[in-house]
């Protein structure tokens, strides 16, 4: 029938039928690529190729000042750089593969990639691509490996990772007299272990120094009733209506969460917006995240008992008095946003000058002992990989050392546990390294159909005048998500 119809058609009609079929084919093809019915697709950007048929999925690196385009491939010369990836639909997982030539100095041993997981606090889920410190230690220390998890030992005390993890959980690590936080270091892995303090005070803690933006607190509580309160004010007249959250976790599990939704926050009201947590808690270590945007100021923090310290970041604002803060890290990163607050700060008895706004200054001193930081004017961001406390008496550090760029091999350190794979060299080009990282993109921030990624080389600075860079040859991202059938029949996540 169709054949007969085709025979009766004039050549012009036949051609129009062909065009119509071709248009239909194109529509079907692009709909297929939009829906991705099998739930798996790969997008790549090869900086070698000269011609591109479309816009592509992977956008250019920003900010442009941190990327040099003088050579064939873009060279990353500053840290961090961002790029976004357009996807026609959402996915649950992504695997990023980076092909690069490295011309990095020894002081920048780490390359990491991340996907923007939480826009409110600008948090990237960072995964390792390269860690030169671990690559070097792998050849000299005893190595035990299982399912991607690697344990390095200075002396061969453990035959299996399971045995090591059991001993770690029971606080019975061999060759670890000085305590777990000093004899163990980790990278991209958070082992569960029991942190214990002998004496914890039972008096209330009240911090009336206003703190700006998101802060993470470590709390050591006694058995019994405990109450926590935080009050908030807006730092700008037009504050975004982001929610205010208190998230309490113990052993990496959320045990309580209090939220004041953005619509419920009234910044114009005379009363302060308050969040509180209370209940009966068992003695031990807790992590409390005060999750707010940088437009919001924590006016006051109250804890009915126990010890309270700040992790990684401390941003005092509008206190207008000389302030003392304590930390045990051997370095301090300082950033000032307002030129009026440029100053000399004292860190471990040494004076360091913060001379320009919006630049992150890094000050280094010797030793792991407790150090005093004295700041004359507030509204400056203090950061490091350790703890900040307002008093020396209340100071405690429950954090296990991280193998970051500030890592130093102390004599007490006997174990390193990490989840990281060394990049491979290309078979044809030994200089070309291929590293990959996997991310969970379910719930990751996505705007206008784009996921935001970051490439971080901590310590790489544009303004240091050195010729160190990372040349990117190719970026490939494999996305995995629900197939069409799983979506229709609501199977999987």
């Amino acid at each position: 029938m169709a054949c007969l119809l085709l025979k009766k058609m004039t050549p012009q009609q036949k051609m129009r039928l062909f065009w119509l079929l071709l248009i239909f084919l194109f529509i079907s093809l692009f709909l297929f690529l939009k829906i991705i019915p099998f739930g798996h697709i790969s997008y790549s950007k090869n900086y070698d190729s000269f011609w591109q048929s479309g816009k592509g999925f992977i956008y250019n690196f920003t900010p442009v000042e941190r990327v040099s385009n003088e050579s064939d491939w873009p060279r990353l010369i500053g840290d961090p750089v961002y790029f976004s990836v357009f996807t026609p639909r959402t996915f649950t997982e992504a695997k990023l593969t980076l092909s690069y030539y490295s011309n990095l100095a020894d002081k920048t041993p780490i390359i990491e990639a991340g996907v923007l997981a939480d826009k409110q606090v600008w948090r990237y889920d960072l995964q390792p691509l390269k860690n030169q410190i671990l690559d070097d230690l792998k050849d000299t220390w005893f190595k035990v490996e299982k399912d991607g998890l690697v344990l390095l030992q200075k002396n061969k005390n453990y035959e299996s990772i399971e045995q090591f993890l059991t001993d770690l959980e029971n606080n019975e690590l061999k060759d670890c007299v000085s305590g777990i936080t000093t004899c163990l270091a980790t990278y991209n892995y958070d082992p569960s272990y029991q942190f214990k303090l002998d004496q914890v005070k039972n008096t209330a803690n009240n911090i009336s120094i206003p703190l700006k933006g998101n802060h993470v607190l470590w709390l050591y509580l006694n058995d019994g009733y405990w109450q926590f309160q935080a009050s908030f004010v807006a730092s700008l007249e037009e504050t975004r209506n982001d929610p205010l959250k208190l998230i309490l976790t113990k052993d990496q599990e959320i045990i309580k969460e209090v939220v004041l939704e953005g619509e419920a926050v009234d910044w114009q009201a005379q009363d302060l917006n308050e969040l509180s947590l209370d209940g009966n808690f068992s003695a031990g270590l807790y992590k409390l995240e005060i999750k707010i945007s940088d437009d919001v100021v924590i006016k006051n923090i109250y804890s009915s008992s126990g010890l309270m310290v700040f992790a990684h970041k401390f941003w005092p604002v509008s206190y207008n008095e000389k302030l003392k803060v304590f930390t045990d890290a051997s370095y301090l990163q300082v950033k000032v946003l307002d030129p009026a607050n440029l100053q000399d700060i004292s860190f471990a008895g040494q004076n360091f000058a913060v001379t320009s706004p919006y630049e992150q200054f890094e000050f280094k001193v010797q030793g792991d002992n407790l150090k005093e930081i004295i700041i004359e004017k507030d509204d400056l961001i203090l950061e490091n990989n350790s703890i900040f406390s307002l008093t020396a008496e209340d100071y405690f550090n429950p954090l296990i050392k991280k193998v970051d760029r500030h890592f130093s091999l102390d004599s007490d350190l006997n174990y390193i546990i990490f989840d990281y794979k060394t990049p491979q060299s290309d078979v044809r080009d030994q200089q070309l390294n291929i590293a990959s990282a996997e991310f969970r993109t379910k719930g990751s921030y996505r705007e206008k159909g784009k996921y935001n990624f970051m490439l971080s080389i901590p310590g790489l600075k544009t303004e240091n005048g050195e010729d160190d860079y990372l040349a990117i040859k190719e970026i490939k991202i494999e996305f995995t998500g629900r197939s069409l059938w799983q979506k229709i029949f609501k199977i999987g996540d």
Binding site: Q12, M15, R16, F30, G54
Partner: protein, 63 residues
Amino acid sequence: MKTFFKTIKPFIFQELFYFSTSLYVVFLIMEIIAPNIILVYFNLNYLFLLIIFSGLMCLRDNN
């Protein structure tokens, strides 16, 4: 096949013009409904060039 091509030769540019214009309109509608559905793979300017080219050739043939 030879006769087929011989027959369509006089109006090939006209047909190509119709086809490319229709495809352009279809792609444009798809882009409006779902942004970036086409543009990430294919730059519509290439298709626009084909419209211009076939249109000009069509005008030349008609003259």
